[in-house]
Amino acid sequence: MKLILLAAVFFLPACKDDFFETAPAGDLTGTETYASTKNIDALMNGTLRYLMESSTSQDNPGLSAITLTQEVMGDDAIARDGVYGFRDSYPYRDPYDNTTRRALFFWSFQYKVIDNCNNILANIDAANGTEDERRFLKGQALALRGFVYLNLVRQYQFTYAKDKTAKAVPIYTAPTSPSTVSKPRATVEEVYTQVLSDLTEAETLLNGFTRKVKNRMDVNVVRGLLARTYLTQENWAQAAVKAAEARSGYAIMEASLYAQGFNDVSNPEWIWGHPQQADQNLGGASYFAYIDVTPTTGYRSIMPDPYFKALFADGDVRKTLFETVTNPTDPRYRWILYKKFRNKTDLAGHIVLMRSSEMALIEAESKARLNDLPGAVTALNELRSKRNLQPLTAAAFSQSQLVEEILTERRRELWGEGFRLLDILRLQQAPLRRTATETFQAGTTAVGIKGHYVLKFPNGSDLVPNSPYYLFSIPVNEINTNPNL
């Protein structure tokens, strides 16, 4: 009997399904995720983090990778020679080259954000929660999707005004399932239609939404995005209206604040920004690691063109932020530093995404284009006064002179925030890159200040408007796996 008992003890009743039940500790299933608005809110929160902080290599710090790439592909910023990061974008080698890791990153992470938004939109209606919670999440998902499509259409094809029938990027509005078929490229026009539809619906849905953290998109952010969209479409009237609405409640910061490093969402004029934390940032390979050139170590790679410095008038608070490095043992020797951005001590500087200054400039430009010069100058002066500059008068300008002045003000005000290449494409211009001639005195000798060192495209030709070298390329992986493209 003992023997049988013994055998029975060892007999293993292990073939029922509950024996096999295991659950991952680091994941939720779809059913769990979409059960409640609380969980879907987490999906929105995670998606925003993904947008800002996903990274496949040191020179791909989330959305900031695009921001910085768009800076060094223009003319006012230079990727410092000999340091890592954006060094291949500066001479237009990537993202033009569709085989590079960066071409793949730019494309993939933005579409992943879109798919997350599509998932929220497809599942929000059935989730437990209040009607407002569902409405606000839906609005945020639409806003984020509109934001990404607006970025994509401006990165992967020439500007709307050039050719709106040109093929841009695929549009997905439903979540990806195992049976989803990849889509063809939609036209520029179609993508803008999608952007406007998303943002317009979001604007309605987000009415009444009060955010707790500034990385969430509220109605002001949506209106700012609408202003950007209309500006690119050259719908000046709408651009002016939306820009004004967007900055309502966000006063342009005082001059003293401008010099404090652009690192905190508490800044009164930040409409949208991503706060970071010590436990959650990309450290030595973050936006600030490249744009903040003041630390003693690190990449510190985005430098201003000496000709950019020359755009500032004396007395402009922004001009006080330039410093030429004259110490020969410093690796930045002979470069000018532009100290607009300074990281926090815990390396978790917040990232700016939309400011009321930009909105004022959109308003000013749109009004100038509409030949409302006094209106334009009023908006422009709002900004100038906060930068310690004398107000301008409309009478001193012709329409084109004023537009030119406002565009120059955009360069002065928005340096480092990713607008330069987009403006070059929008205005169908070519970057103006010139060899630096400025010097500083070291004792009795005049030492040359460093500036542009790539003045031509990789094929040896001159920089011209609407060159494919300015466009991001659809990565070879997409071409290989999407037969419908």
Binding site: P24, K112, D115, S182, V454
Partner: protein
Amino acid sequence: MKPRILYFLILFCSLSGFAQAQSRKVSGQVTEAGSGQPLPGVSVNIKGLKTSTQTGPDGKYNLTIPEGSTTLVFTYIGYETREMTPSSGTLNLQLKTSENNLNEIVVVAYGTANKSTYTGSASVVNASELEKRPVANVSRALQGAVPGVQSVASAGQPGSDASIRIRGIGSINASSDPLYVVDGVPYSGNINSINSADIASITVLKDAAASALYGSRGANGVIIITTKAGRYNSKPQVSLSTNTGFSQRSVKDYEFVNTDQYFQLQWEALRNNQLDQGKTDQEAAQFASTELVSNLKINPYGPNYPNPVGLDGQLVRGAVPLWQDDWSKSLSRTGIRQEVNLGVSGGSADSRYFVSGGYLSDKGFIVGSGFRRFNTRVNYNTKVNKWFEAGINVAASSTNQDSPPQSDSDQGNFANFGRLVSNIYPVYERNADGSFKLDAAGNQIYDFGNYRPSAAATGNNLLGIVDLNKYNNKQDALLLRGNLQFNILDGLKLKSSVNTDYNNRNNLSYSNPLFGSGIANGGSVTKGSVRTVGYTINNLLDYTFDLGSAHHFNVLGGQEVYVLNISNLSGSRSNFGFDGKTEPNAASLINSFNGSSDQYKLSSFLGKLDYNYNQRYFFSASFRRDGSSRFSPESRWGNFWSVGASWNAKSEAFLANTNWLNSLTVRTSYGAQGNDNLGSYYAYQDLYSIYNSLGQAGLVTSRLPTPGLKWETNLNFNAGIDFAILNHRISGTFEVFQRQSKDLLFSRPLAPSLGFTAIDDNIGSLRNNGYEGQLNFVPVTNQNVHWTVGLNFGHYNNRITKLPQKEIISGNVGQLGSTKKLTVGSSVYDFYIREWAGVDPANGKPMWYKDAENGRTTTSVYADATQYYSGSALPDFYGGLNSSIRYKQFELYALVAYNIGGKVLDLDEVMIMHTGENTGRTWSSQILDRWTPTNTNTDVPRLTTTATNWNSISTRFLYDASYVRLKNLSLSYSLPEKWANQLGMGKLRLYARGENLLTYYKHKGLDPEQAVDGVTYYRYPSQKTYTFGLDLSF
């Protein structure tokens, strides 16, 4: 049934057997051939009956043979089995140690088998071969030792694993690693916690008949490790072995340019870039001369030569570098290896034991690397009474590995650092005149090079931080194997076992706050722990019986449950406030704190039938049904099976008198095994990763649902022949196989615009056809000389036979792009890369081929170039050659591993083949042959400081992977026994051994042992080790 009744029943059975026959007594002594030492514990069976006994401590036995039986079978693991017919009452005999071949008892799935009649394909490596290999990880000892096994030691880091591929590549996206079984049960720990000195034998199971009993985990073959055991009726024997040695890099690194060359080349790159921006010759040369030092951020020629390279591109007259440092050498050293093992074994009539302890310390040749292990083991078995036996194996080990980063392109990689920082930069800080700067105490100061360009590892000096930083893994492992055996009836046994593999790994990675990468964040530390516990419990009923005198059966059936629990904890902090403190407590800022756990469960039913007719025809069948928690309830259960047969031709009457033929067996098998190691434990659910943000809950999509996903199945066919002729002077095995994988797991690539890069899918099939063999010769054997030669070889081809889509681009290497393309008819490891078309003689630009309307043309735009199939990473032929010569007391042994054919993509070389855009980075001396207007016929392009893509992946860097390596050479001397006895010892042996002594490989600079997929990735190269030691026993 009460045990006592059972006892009587058993007793009655044997008594009744006794009473039936007229019997006779036989006795004698069994000794070891050669040494003449008595062999205790040899099992002596009466052929065709269950009756058996064992030899005592003096090797003696006695037995009663019943009427009708004539033949005694003497078996002993590690020795050749002998069958003898006693002509009188005394039968003395000698057993030969088996030379890795026929008539050998081998450990197989859930039991043992006689190799000469086994229906499956199994190869064995015995303790005597293992003990010659100074490796810290037994997976490395298989290279060249077993036919059909590819072992690629892809890193020289002491303690690291080798990748093992048995009979080719069975999978694309799931694991191709074999299953390790230790003392009868699948092993869940790290293979480097097992001491090779404790191992009695390793059996490699290669076909379905051998490994189908491991079901959903057996598809990639099985490696069974069996540890040493004591012997019944033997006196305690103590064996001690100790050795010490040193290690170096086994192959020389690439050749680099010197400082003078470096400066002139960089001048040229700067000048050329200026020309490309539209400057005149004069302007460009002027720019290059004045900007050179500012570009490289160093002037090794001193302040007297502010512009060391003139407008002509030549060094200014009189300029001499004030130092010539060597970064690679500074990070290398002579590694020291020490090992001590002590074992005690013995046994009484009803119990036996093996107890051991060992210590190993292996410091690698790269500074900061090392591996230490303490381990101990107790294997104990007892026969409580006739019907009850019990045993327990307990092994504990503690390892401590210092493993600085060594396999990535990042600047912290110790193996690669010398290929990042050019030797124009000093290792220690220098004054402008070239003299060393000294600190207050008069010591040299490490130069961290905050001034260096990024490409030359700004702010880093690995030599300077190696003593300050830590890269440590500590691992404690406990292995328990408890088993009970109930002998229910004659031939019927119930075996139950409870087994646990416990593994706890603690890693600490610390960057100091003062120097190197830690400056930015005040130093940082990451500490983590992974606890892995695997339980296996099984109950097996084993019944051996005969029908008539010719029909012999063995049936095994039972169930098994496996549960694996994994629990992770890790956190990191930064900003240290105190010097010399390296634990997280001392850092003030919490950067992360993570923890997770996983579970994996497997429930199985298994059965096996072995039948033989008159020891002549053998037949086997096995079946296993597995249910796995990895899969959805709908596709959870799967069936795996095999059938096999063998024919022992020598036992046929017509060959019985063929004296030159000692044995001849023909065998074949077919069956299905599975591979459930798909990487995910939850391979069916749609998953959203928890991705918290800013103190709030966060999620992000991570996996598409795949409810129908299941394991891959391998269908294996094997046919083989084993023979021995001329008194066993020549013996061998030859096998052919076909291994077909179906329902192959693919991470089927999706368009990135779908938001997922891939979806797991069971689509596609793969086939490996191949053959392998082993030949053993004994050219000379006599009183004084015993010479053996063994050769093994393997070949397979790998073909994809079905795919879900026309083609799949695969083999992405970090950030460098894809290297492979899968199509029907191609192999998994066929390179699919751009084809190098040389340098354009007209302008020095790199060129690649591209398809055009009429044939091929060339392009200088990398992205426009077409990718082509460019050969396979898989070798045509691989294996080993070994030879041992014993002359009197001396023995010389050599093992050569070879690999013929196949290609390797040398991405290490790419690092040092820039054209000047990676300012300050080490330059290969191949760059001296760059294109210039006067050197137009070259395959190194024109220099320029703007990247040209020329050193992107292309056939320019694809090389033949054939090599031959002297893996092991050892010379030993055994003290004559009588001298040893005078010293109070049974045996004393002194030896000198070398590992990786010689390598014949055409492409200089690269270590040929890289990865199965043929792509290098800046790994720690293999090391050459010399050891000296002694073994003694008493």
